[in-house]
C-alpha cells in the first residue's frame, strides 16, 4: 500500500469538529460529541416533520386553490429541501462518528498510560517495601505478601536454592509447605529453576512437561512460577496461586516476572547482609577468645 500524506490527528479532530458544528473544541470530550449528535438529529427530525406537515397540507387543501401557485414545483422544492437537509445531517453525522472514534482512541491511550503508571507505582512501592528489610525472614514474608497484593493472589510460596535443592522457606495459604524440599528440575518450580523461564499454569499441569510433578492439595486452578535471578545467579523461585474462579494471564505473568527481578535483588542483598553479619560475629568471637587467652 502506497504511503501518502495524511492529516495529523489534531488536524483531523479540528476539521471534523468544525464540520460537525462543535465550536470552541479545545477540550475533546465524547460527551460533547454525543450532545451535538442528539441536538443535530432533534433539529433534523423537527425540520423533516415540518416539511412532512407542509406536504400533507398540500394534499388536504383543495388543489384548485393552490393550482395557480404551481403545486408540482412547490412540492418538488419542498422535497428537495428535505433531501438536502437529510444529506447535510448525514454529512455531519459522519464527522461526528469519526470524532467519536478519535476521542475513544484518545481515551484508550490515556487509560493505557494510566495503567502503566499504576503498574510502575505498584512495583516501586513493592521495591521500597522489600528494600526496607535486610532480615531474611521479614524480607521473604514481604516479598510474598507484596506479590499476592500486586496480583490479587490468595497464596503462594518462596523457594530458595540450597545446593541442588529448592526449599520452601515461606508460604502463604499453605503453611505445611514450609520446609519441603524438591530437587532442581522436579515439578513446576524445579522446571522454572532449571529453565529460568516464567511459567503460567491454567488448569492441571502436564506431568510429561514437568517430571516429578506432585499434585497439590487443595487443587489450584491457576498459578504462576517465576525464577528469582540476580546477576545470572539463581536465588530461588516465587510461586503465586489465583483465587477460585480467576485465571492468571500472560499479562500477570509479565508483571510477576518484573516484580521477581526486584525480589531477587533484595534476597541477594539480604544474603550478603547475613554473610557479613556472620563474618563480623566470627571476628568478634575470635577477638574475644584472644582476649581471654
Amino acid at each position: 500500500m502506497a504511503r501518502h500524506h495524511r492529516q495529523s490527528e489534531p488536524e483531523r479532530l479540528r476539521r471534523d469538529a468544525r464540520i460537525a458544528g462543535l465550536r470552541d473544541f479545545q477540550t475533546p470530550s465524547l460527551e460533547a460529541v454525543e450532545q451535538r449528535r442528539r441536538q443535530l438529529w432533534q433539529r433534523t427530525a423537527t425540520a423533516l416533520a415540518l416539511i412532512a406537515a407542509v406536504v400533507v397540507a398540500f394534499a388536504i387543501i383543495p388543489s384548485d386553490r393552490i393550482a395557480e401557485a404551481g403545486t408540482g414545483r412547490i412540492l418538488f422544492a419542498i422535497v428537495g429541501v428535505g433531501g438536502g437537509l437529510f444529506l447535510w445531517a448525514f454529512h455531519k453525522e459522519t464527522a461526528l462518528e469519526r470524532l467519536t472514534r478519535s476521542l475513544t482512541d484518545e481515551r484508550v491511550l490515556t487509560a493505557a498510560l494510566t495503567n502503566r503508571l499504576h503498574e510502575v507505582s505498584l512495583l516501586l512501592d513493592a521495591g521500597k517495601q522489600m528494600n526496607a528489610h535486610l532480615q531474611m525472614d521479614e524480607l521473604l514474608d514481604t516479598i510474598l505478601r507484596s506479590a499476592c497484593e500486586l496480583l490479587d493472589a490468595t497464596g503462594g510460596s518462596v523457594m530458595l536454592v540450597e545446593e541442588t535443592d529448592l526449599v520452601t522457606v515461606c508460604a502463604l495459604g499453605r503453611d505445611a509447605a514450609v520446609g519441603q524440599r524438591m530437587r532442581l528440575g522436579e515439578g513446576v518450580a524445579g522446571y522454572v529453576a532449571i529453565r529460568r523461564d516464567p511459567v503460567l499454569i491454567d488448569g492441571h499441569a502436564d506431568p510429561d512437561l514437568f517430571p516429578g510433578l506432585v499434585l497439590r492439595e487443595p487443587y489450584v486452578e491457576s498459578a504462576m512460577s517465576v525464577p528469582l535471578v540476580h546477576r545470572a545467579e539463581l536465588q530461588g523461585v516465587l510461586n503465586v496461586n489465583a483465587p477460585i474462579g480467576r485465571s492468571f494471564t500472560e499479562y500477570d505473568l509479565r508483571a510477576l516476572a518484573v516484580f521477581a527481578e526486584q525480589a531477587a535483588l533484595a534476597i541477594a542483598n539480604a544474603r550478603l547482609y547475613e554473610a557479613e553479619r556472620a563474618h563480623v560475629a566470627a571476628l568478634l568471637d575470635l577477638r574475644k577468645r584472644r582476649e581471654v587467652g
Binding site: R3, T104, D105, A112, N115, R116, T249, Y251
Partner: protein, 139 residues
C-alpha cells in the same frame, strides 16, 4: 476509497502511538484498544477490517480475546503479536483462527505488509484464506 480500519490491541502506550502513526501513514484507519475488554467491545461494535492483537493485555489477555472471537464465530482477521517465538504459541494462534503471527520486536514495514495482505484476504474469502494462510505469515 475507504481506508481499511485496523484495531490495534496493545497495552503499551508507546507502541500504540507508534503503530497508530505508521498505520495511518500507510493508508489504514487505526483504532485503539488498551485492554482485552475494550478490544472485544470495539471488534463487536465497530467491526474493524483487521486486528493487531498483542498477547499481553490487561484484564483478559490476547489469547482469551482470540478464544472468545473464535467461540462467537467472529471472522475478523487477527494478527497475533507476541514476544515469544515458540511452536506452541504459534500452533495455539493457528488453532484459534489467527491469520498471522508476528514476533516482537517486529519490523514496521513487515507489519504493514502483512496487514495489507490480511485486509486483502478478507475481501476475497476469509474462511478459505484462513484455512490456507501461508506458514510464512504464521512463522
Amino acid at each position: 476509497m475507504v481506508a481499511p480500519r485496523v484495531l490495534i490491541a496493545e497495552d503499551d502506550p508507546d507502541t500504540l502511538v507508534i503503530l497508530r502513526v505508521n498505520l495511518n501513514a500507510a493508508g489504514f484507519e487505526p483504532m485503539l484498544a488498551g485492554d482485552g475488554h475494550t478490544a472485544l467491545e470495539r471488534i463487536e461494535t465497530e467491526a474493524p477490517d483487521a486486528v493487531l492483537l498483542d498477547v499481553l493485555l490487561p484484564g483478559i489477555d490476547g489469547w482469551q480475546v482470540l478464544e472468545q472471537l473464535h467461540a462467537k464465530g467472529n471472522s475478523v482477521p487477527v494478527i497475533v503479536c507476541s514476544g515469544k517465538d515458540n511452536v506452541h504459541d504459534l500452533q495455539r494462534a493457528r488453532e484459534l483462527g489467527a491469520v498471522a503471527y508476528l514476533v516482537k520486536p517486529f519490523d514496521i514495514d513487515r507489519l504493514i505488509e502483512v496487514t495489507s495482505e490480511v485486509v486483502g484476504l478478507r475481501q476475497t474469502d476469509p474462511v478459505t484464506e484462513r484455512g490456507t494462510a501461508p506458514d510464512t505469515e504464521l512463522a
